[in-house]
Amino acid sequence: MAARPRTLTGVAGGSALLAAVALAACASRGPVPPGLPGEVAVSGSEAGGGSPSSPSAPPPGAAPSRQFHLGPAANALVTQARTQAGGGEYAAAGATLERALRIEPDNPLLWVELGRVQMGEGNAGQADAMGRKALALATGDPTAQASAWRLIADSLHARGRTAEALEAEQRAAGLAPQ
């Protein structure tokens, strides 16, 4: 792999990473049920977002609120990936995050994390797509949505799409102040 001129946080601006760190820090739970290991429904329906079997329909425009966490396994892998990315080993960091994603494929925090590594590798297009993937999964969690928008904003900045980037930043700020 060629030498990378930029560090992970150098491009990312660090804010979303910090948000993810804060979330990761609150992950300290016991055995988790299969399926949604990192998701905790704080309020709203038990299924946390319109399961077809769920009898109660949420009111229009008000998705049930919830907050994503990382389970212990994914948390350990994210920590490892950050060390790898910090040393410029983006491919290794990506592989480590893919391990985490196989354990918690629906966790938007992991998609943001992987998007950050893509930014570090200079792959802004993929970072954008991963930000949007995170956004689709983060419905109901303003903090996670904000992290996703910040990633998208950074990827837009990196591609010179400043107006769209500013718009994305505003969305992030509206969801969760930094």
Binding site: S51, A57, G71, R132, T139
Partner: protein, 751 residues
Amino acid sequence: MAAVAGAAYVLYLDLLVIHQFEGRRWTLPAQVFAAPLELYAGLPLSESEVGHELERLHYRKVAQLDRPGTYRVNGARIDVALRPARFADESRDAQLLSISAGSQGIEALKDAAGHEVPVIRLEPLLIGSIFPSHGEDRIVLTPREVPPLLPAALKAVEDRRFDSHRGVDPQAILRALWVDARARQIEQGGSTLTQQLVRSYFLSTRQTLGRKIREAIMAIALDARFTKDDLMNAYINEIFLGQDGNRAIHGFGLASQFYFGKPLSELDLSEIALLVAVVRGPSYYDPRRHADRVLARRNLVLKELADQHVVGAPEAAAAARRPLGVTPRPAGAYYPAYLDFVRRTLRRDYRDQDLTEAGLSIYTSLDPRAQDAAERALDSELARLDRMKKRGSEAQALQGAVVVTAPQSGDVIAIVGGRDVGYDGFDRALDARRAMGSMVKPFVYLAALESGRYSAATIVQDEPVDLKLAGGQHWRPENFAHDTNGPVPVARALAESLNLATVGVGLDIGLPKVAETLQRFGLDRTPQQVPAMLLGAVDVTPLEAAQLYNGLANGGFRNPLRAVRAVIGTDGKALKAFQLQVTQVATPEAVYQLDRLLTLVMNRGTGRPARPLLPADLVVAGKTGTSSDFRDSWFAGFSGSNLTVVWVGYDDDAPTGLTGSAGALPVWARIMASLGGSSWNAPMPDGLVEMEIEYATGLRVLPGCSDDRVTVAVPAATQVAPKAGCGFPDSGNPVTTFIDRTQRWLHALVH
């Protein structure tokens, strides 16, 4: 003159054999590995399932952990001596691991010091190798990886004077000649290990006198140039030890995997003696075919080892009492269809020679548990369908193919290419390109939802279609039941796979738009834009169908389906990584609305027969496909964890008489039931709302005013006419007037 010619001949043979010896040592077929099993607290794997996974990797259950490759069960705790392992991204030394499992699965993992281990992988299962066309497959071992007992046993049984002779052993030859003279046939007994090595290099089995002389000269030449240790190591890596279809098993490293499924270093005395017994004639002494014969010869080998004091007599006697211990099926050759996909992926980047000679390690996404589930389900369901059919004229057996993915990562975790999974032949999952049938309909409706002019509750007309085609012909498609249903909501049209309604929607949206939708989701060519396309006149392979549906299962994100994660060179460095990639190809809103409709297919429509086969609380979404005249029976569907595509049909394209519901669906349901996994549970995007409508009419209803309700997701602004008498709270106000107007309009439209 004759002397010069003779010397030249000897020199020629010398060069030939030296060249062969030096060149051969580095020809290593690529080894292919399955995805490693990640262990972590919360993984729903019981104690017995953990044991099963260890057995799959041929860990041995013991009372006391003594060496890597063993495990011990201690109540609900399993202690494992993990082998050293190499993964795509790192290597790990041998280590101890304690796994505590309860009713919910794994509860805790601890290392030897008692520290919590958050996540750890078992080593990846070797699933095969990519060997050259001449069929030689091998795993090459360094002398350090060979237990000392093996060379000692080989010398004792095959070549007692190996350490002292010069490549040939006159004493052994004389003895063999004497035996031959009496038996009036040539036996191999007189050959040294060096001579056997020469014979193996030149693939000559005919035993003429000329060849014997040639072989002897070459053996002497080799012996003069190389040390005994080099020759012994070459022998251990070179010699032929079994046949598996067109794959020739060479070397003790691979033979150990092939017969016992574990590394040579873990073999015990009885197992090493068995391999030494097989050397004499891998076909005659095939342990899977001629167990009695092999047992007798193995015990003869053990006796010989005791007689020559290589091992103690009591040890040999104990080993002779052990069963053969050979695995029922050859390890490393289970998954030909999957390996086929791996090979094709790699041929884009690598020459054949790189794959068959360069000693690459290839790490794949194959999940052996999912693969086994898919193979079993296809086999048992096709057998049942064959028995059920028995229509006399149909002499041929039904065939089928399965592709299973993890939608979010695009990992292909299982591929079945046909019923006879051990047969490395026609791979239907990759090569059978068949009409999609109704499996195309979700893409018609997705295009409709994306247009903003349609929702799940939109009333569409299921009425006769008569289209004049370009050639002057008429196209008059029919519904499966040859009926018409008049006005129906989109939800019902898709759930019941109504052809006429779908053609109406598709023509309204436009063929180019539908074709473009398919291409966005990964179809790599432009489908022929004829109206029949709307009913599935689009040919795809099961793998291509999986690519298309993966985007639906992944919320409108396309990822290239991948079997290979990384290719690692002999130095442990990654040569190529196939990273996870996603591309958004549809809005989450449109895909969410569609996916909700696909859950109705399972609860109300053509997917309903799967319900009794699935866990009651597992939410799944999917679609049947039946091509014209029942030639192809398809089902594609997903949970939150897996997408599975199943095709069932005949190889010669003859009609099967099976719909997608009757043929492919039960296979699919059995696979999904064994995979377990989580429900489809995508979060509903902001801006959509759930709404209850009457399934038959599409009218908005409240609980209690209709017993035919279904829940759909629609954009928040969607106006849906309420069912009269449902007591909607707004009755009497202007909204009702609007709704009444709508109802009158609808009524006029319908009649």
